[in-house]
Amino acid sequence: MVVDFSVNFDLNQDLPILNIKGEIDIHTCPKLQDSLKEFTEKNKSNIVLNLQDIHYIDSTGLGTIAYTAKEIGKANHKVIVVCDKPQIKKIFEVSGLLSKNIELLDSIAEVAQSKQE
């Protein structure tokens, strides 16, 4: 079914986490863009995009993530995408988007780990 789309910041973690739920497509993407813009204007740090509750992402969603990565990359920060769904991971891989400042991890737990390394 058509699931509600929501974007919520969790700032009480080591790194700020954006929890996104639903489907990211041309219809819902503007909401994500707004949230990310608001965030990057206020915060100067790495950011975690939690896509565990996302079951669809299209090129507009990837474009928005790439744009954010470019913006925060200027200050040497990066976007950490958390997702373990094979179909979503595949889209990131086909897109050729993964680079040194867009990282793809399987779980939030791995974020903490990768920080320590």
Partner: protein, 148 residues
């Protein structure tokens, strides 16, 4: 029974909220044709990107019930064919993959990924476009077992 393939036609207005509904309908068709979950995802994304392009580029993101997008799914015995047509601006297919197009895409926060996805995720895709007349994308995916 006639010999032509079973065909489902959907017409939507150029309005972003309909793209997820097209994905639902197309998943339903693909599931009925016994495509795997992975194939269904590939088909969903490809059709969705074609519709998104029509909304963004063909009709300049101007939601209106006059600007229509026509989706046709044809269930061939061995493959699913999906056609996405718009009557919008059209574009020069020659620009695809060129540097100026990449630049233009990026200006619109795009990545030139829509057509890349369609080409990579479907078995085969045909593009035709005519300036001021519109664009048609036909894409094909072989079904795992012959249908019917």
């Amino acid at each position: 029974m006639s010999n032509s393939p079973l065909e489902m036609k959907i017409t939507i207005p150029c309005s972003t909220e309909f793209v997820s509904i097209i994905r639902l309908a197309i998943s339903g068709i693909a599931a009925r044709m016994n495509f795997t979950v992975e194939d269904i995802e590939d088909i969903k994304i490809s059709v969705s990107e074609a519709c998104t392009n029509a909304i963004q580029h063909a009709y300049g993101n101007n939601p209106s019930s006059d600007n229509e997008i026509f989706i046709t799914a044809r269930m061939h015995p061995e493959e699913l064919e999906i056609e996405v047509e718009d009557k919008g601006t059209g574009f020069d297919l020659g620009i695809l993959g060129t540097a100026p197009q990449k630049e233009a895409s990026e200006k619109k926060m795009g990545l030139g990924l829509g057509i890349t996805f369609i080409k990579n995720l479907m078995d085969h895709a045909e593009f035709s476009s005519k300036i001021d007349s519109g664009t048609v994308i036909r894409m094909f995916k072989k079904s795992p077992k012959p249908f019917q």
